[in-house]
Assembly symmetry: C2
Homo-oligomer: 425 residues x 2
Amino acid sequence: MDAAVAAERLAALMAERVDHRFKGLPPDAEGRTLADLAAERRDLFTGGFTTPLLTLAAEHLTHNLGLMETYTARHGLAFAPHGKTTMAPQLFHRQIAHGAWGITLAVPHQVRVARYFGVQRVFLANELVDPAALRSIAADLAADSDYDFVCYVDSPHGVALMDAALSGAARPIDVVVELAAGEGARTGVRTEAECVAVADAVAATRTLRLVGVAGYEGEVPRADPGRVHTWLRRLTALAVEFDKAGRFADADRIVVSAGGSAWFDAVAEEFTRMPELSVPVLKLLRSGAYVTHDDGHYRGLTPFTRVPQEGALQPALRLWTQVVSRPSPEQAFVNAGKRDVGYDLGLPTALVVHRDGEERTATGITVTALSDQHTWLRTTPEADLRVGDWLGLGLSHPCTTFDKWPLIPVTEADGTVVDYVRTFF
Amino acid sequence: MDAAVAAERLAALMAERVDHRFKGLPPDAEGRTLADLAAERRDLFTGGFTTPLLTLAAEHLTHNLGLMETYTARHGLAFAPHGKTTMAPQLFHRQIAHGAWGITLAVPHQVRVARYFGVQRVFLANELVDPAALRSIAADLAADSDYDFVCYVDSPHGVALMDAALSGAARPIDVVVELAAGEGARTGVRTEAECVAVADAVAATRTLRLVGVAGYEGEVPRADPGRVHTWLRRLTALAVEFDKAGRFADADRIVVSAGGSAWFDAVAEEFTRMPELSVPVLKLLRSGAYVTHDDGHYRGLTPFTRVPQEGALQPALRLWTQVVSRPSPEQAFVNAGKRDVGYDLGLPTALVVHRDGEERTATGITVTALSDQHTWLRTTPEADLRVGDWLGLGLSHPCTTFDKWPLIPVTEADGTVVDYVRTFF
């Protein structure tokens, strides 16, 4: 796609008007464009925004984008951050501007979003056997010679379905064999012998081209550094074997890909150890959660705790809520719930209380449960919390929080709202 | 709001064009209006729709709308189904067409959606203390004399915040005192004595008018019929006491409201037993999940299991997924995950397998876990499941499934897609 068209479409996001579609925007801004509202630089707390409201910290976002750019460059990795985390085309383009090779995605709808906004390199980390989706991608590849699309294959039957759907396609689709992370793990071929069978099936088609191997170390059963490194060595050895066997003979680059947000240090180490192959190797890391990091699950899991000398990610998401009930000294309720925040990998945590322009640590306040539209808080005697206070929550698992917010205000450290990020779930 | 404007806005939803914003719609329909696509009456399985895709069963939806219309009429209840379940203005209007008094909502953003689409009676089942949101509602009330809005109050401090924000408003806001469902329960005033204090606080303002009492029996701790009836009798007794004390002297109707989707039979019984009060009583039931029911949580909880002679709800939501990996005889994976379906009150269940135009029961297939974009299936030897098959999943908890789908195709029993429902979360 022409870069100017993509730029126009991105810009059009900020020409959207404030209305009922977007949670938490100031009622008195109804009908204004997001660009105009951003230019007003309103204060989050006094500018008419209503809770619940998810915000993105501008400085932390920029920091995280820069940190992973540095990290991947230092370790000789190409980067296709998983776009399913945010599904925010504006962030996709910032990731690409920060050196990313392209964007990883999980399902055809996500590819459609990325392509509409001009993402030119897509790594679909799934086998794709749906005929309508395959034909749509084939048409897109035929229409745009610069479009680089790679997806998984993980069974001869899947290859046969793809081949049937793609019959007559102008360009073959580049595929990588997915090696499962172990017995009982998620998708992917269980054994190297079966990988050979899948590669043979690909070689027998004219519609698919084998360009590499991939997998997801995040699903290694009972993962620890030893098991993760062992699996990564299986993956890189498979690439070496396939290359020696001439299985990438049609490829002008070999793709070797792994890497979520918990083990990219191990991926960097093992990918660095790979010998040279017959053609250049795209060592593709796919971590997605880094872009906002979190105050829970990924704060605990991030590899930067093992390599602190390489930097630290900063949590960029915060959910602002308001106390609507304080029925007893031990209980309080804010007006956000399962509709507003992820809860699959830990509950949100109470970080700060904002009252009359003053912000302080949320001492003595514990999130104990979520209803659809309420958060249950347990309070100790030292908690100073009243109906009307705003409570800022830290989150666990960005993916399942982003998908609850079609539009997210971006704030500077002092609370000035400077931008808006649109998501498409 | 003028009914013609509301009708235009609803119609405009079907004038929206198929594009990247909506998951699962046929790629070859890009740019067509939803109205045109509906008129094509495409087949769900062969019409180019891609998975994952949530669908609404047209007949079951209509059945459920009719059943609760009959039920509430039979028991002398007014009905304000909780709109947070679907956040679908098209369904709000169908609910109103089926006799509903209005729509219940939880947060100001939801009120904004309902009002944009012309809902004239809104019951906000929360205390609302946000000044920007209150001023916006006050302006709306001032501009539309037919707009009927009621919300909770549950503390004197909350009343003071509301009063301050509403200073100078043209019309007072109607409020009901929320009685908590018990000690340690969710929001609401814990004791009758405290309810009196809140009512006194309301009476001391010019900006609020006390019109009733309300609560949510779904949060009665260790709920059983005895405890739920006991609490409902407290609620109706509070209404009687307040009325006797002249606390509704300014009201032209008294609102007494309760009722989620688990105990509306008890609500019907206790509301029927209420004596006459000084002005007509709006006995307002608020159940929301009934409209689609489910194949899990609410299938087990619905009061119709206790009163089968009054009818039965039918599950109207189904999530269509596709098998993308079958790595072993015991495992399979479909391409839907936490992004697509609720999992807070039970995992989805495998209902049917669709292959080459044939549909059969999903024998031997159990959902064991969800990843962000995958469902983990355990399969027994009798499971006949291949990569490429479509698997139809039944859901548990409609609320947390609706919020993952901005647009939902409506299908007839034979798989013809006849309509589209838009949601705003």
